[in-house]
């Protein structure tokens, strides 16, 4: 059995990056995620796996370093927190438009503006609906434990390369700062330049050797051409919605009431469900793991057994809109949340639930 370490979520991200054979990390310090780059710099992976780690001059620059690295067919990633991600949205849109794979980690904090460094889930819309300009999506994974912070680095890259699009880990300050047990996975070898040229030579800028030149851009001045690019992107997103939904159900089999929560909120709600059950309320928890693609059909399939749903978020209510779209009025959908970095306790969630459903 592999050794189990006690690590912060942010440290787990860094260790996973090295172990998953990531080629490059480019980042800029911002609380509460600075431990990612700090851990990488301490580990010095350039001496072991050959991974490049660089502190950029800004988040704008970090994401454009990812753009360059992704053009090369390399596995590149960055991490930041809410205000930094806002700066990166331009670059993420370019990479979506140019169909480039990369991994962006958002360890969110409370906003808007400079906000607070305490945990928040107020970046759900930005992550799920596309924070930059144009019709695009990123695959969004929401870890609820330190082990998932570690494991989703690999999952994120696999999906990003499978569909050639940016993937995001949407975490928050609580998961980033929390320490839990983490089991390291076996070392994955980085691809050699030759392997990359062979595997991704049909699109990546690996040097025009024995083939026609490759050019990567998101520009198509002719509207007809741009329409075709958009149609291709949208058909890719539909396939992802069909095939890549990840979720976890907790005590849902006989549930009459459903809490829906992701990330740290889902952890808190697990305790709420246990408290509710001890009071005889048949409550379950659905935890979306992919926020895009959203588990719309999973919710729809549960509707016949449900009397009500409550979305629980560290925000003013964002994911609740996607739940309401899925439910389409079939059962009441309520919301409970806190903003600005305040985290609710399991009891507060239960009290809000019993008040909203008159139980």
């Amino acid at each position: 059995m592999a050794e189990k370490l006690l690590k912060k979520g942010n440290e787990a991200i860094a260790l996973a990056a090295i172990r998953y054979g990531v080629d490059g990390y480019f980042g800029y310090p911002i609380t509460p995620q600075s431990e990612v780059m700090e851990t990488l710099m301490e580990e010095m992976p350039w001496e072991t796996t050959g991974m490049v780690v660089l502190q950029a001059e800004s988040e704008t620059s970090s994401i454009n370093m990812l753009y360059g690295g992704a053009c090369c067919g390399k596995k590149v990633m960055t991490s930041s927190s809410s205000p930094g991600i806002s700066l990166m949205c331009e670059g993420i849109s370019y990479m979506a438009g140019s169909e480039l794979p990369c991994l962006v980690v958002n360890v969110t904090r409370g906003g808007p503006g400079l906000g607070t460094i305490q945990p928040s889930q107020g970046d759900y819309f930005q992550a799920v609906k596309g924070g930059g300009h144009g019709d695009y999506k990123t695959i969004v994974l929401a870890p609820a434990s330190v082990q998932e912070m570690y494991d989703f680095v690999g999952t994120g890259f696999d999906l990003a390369f499978k569909y050639r699009m940016p993937a995001m880990i949407l975490s928050d300050g609580a998961i980033g700062q929390m320490m839990e047990k983490v089991e390291l996975r076996p070392q994955v070898q980085r691809l050699t330049d030759k392997e990359i040229a062979k595997k991704y030579g049909d699109w990546a800028t690996t040097g025009k050797s024995g083939r026609k030149a490759n050019f990567i851009s998101s520009l198509a001045l002719e509207a007809r051409d741009m329409e075709q690019i958009n149609l291709r992107l949208q058909s890719k997103y539909r396939i992802i919605e069909e095939t890549e939904v990840l979720f976890e159900k907790h005590l849902c089999d006989d549930a009459e009431y459903l809490l829906v929560a992701f990330g740290s909120s889902a952890r808190i709600c697990e305790s709420t469900v246990e408290m509710a059950r001890s009071k005889g309320i048949r409550m379950g928890l659905l935890r979306p793991i992919t926020l895009f693609p959203f588990p719309t059909r999973i919710i729809q399939a549960m509707l016949p057994q449900l009397k009500g749903i409550m979305s629980v978020e560290l925000s003013a209510g964002q994911m609740v809109e996607d739940i309401r779209l899925a439910v389409n009025g079939a059962v009441p959908v309520e919301f409970f949340g806190k903003m600005g970095g305040i985290v609710f306790s399991p009891e507060e969630v239960l009290n809000a639930f019993t008040a909203k459903f008159n139980l």
Partner: protein
């Protein structure tokens, strides 16, 4: 077994590292653990606190409303966390610098003169280990052997020469915890 613990005091008292040593010892004893710190501006000179949960089973919420044990090392933390101990739970504190002592009657209150004892024994740096010892005397949830391993895992290698001092401090804490009636 499930122990939900809050440790709170000034930044620099070793609150977070005490929690980390407990959590790491839990990992070594194959328990489920979470360590959730307060972070941010509070860390810089103000109060720091950490929530540690050690359990035989999967841990759901790492954030607590009420805890089994509160370890309190300054007045601000006393004001904030005395009320957060579950009825029947434990409040352990160092009376040094405390002006308002705990008032609740539905919990068990213990004290450890950690700051004074550490100073008198010339191991003031191991202050937090005395407190840890006191806690382990009251709640022997982890084996001493694993605590020592957890301590070693938590300390950077350059401090491994301080292991005997830390172990001595833990034992000193265990021997000197007193019930307050």
């Amino acid at each position: 077994m499930k122990e939900e613990l809050i440790i709170a005091g000034f930044g620099g008292q070793g609150v977070l590292s005490m929690g980390k040593i407990l959590a790491y010892s839990g990992v070594i004893q194959d328990k489920e653990v979470t360590w959730m710190p307060s972070y941010g501006p509070e860390m810089r000179g103000g109060t720091a606190n950490v929530t540690v949960i050690i359990s035989d089973k999967r841990i759901s919420s790492p954030i607590l409303n009420m805890c089994d044990t509160a370890i309190v090392l300054n007045q601000q933390s006393m004001d904030k966390f005395e009320s957060k101990v579950k009825p029947g739970g434990i409040l352990l504190y160092d009376p040094n610098g405390i002006s308002r002592h705990p008032e609740r009657k539905d919990i068990k209150v213990y004290s450890i003169d950690a700051a004074d004892l550490a100073n008198d024994s010339g191991i003031s740096k191991a202050f937090n280990m005395l407190v840890l010892g006191a806690f382990l005397q009251l709640k022997p949830i982890l084996e001493m052997e694993n605590i020592i391993k957890g301590l070693k895992k938590s300390l950077p290698e350059r401090y491994h020469n301080l292991m005997p001092m830390n172990e001595k401090a833990i034992r000193l804490g265990m021997a000197n915890v007193k019930e307050v009636k």
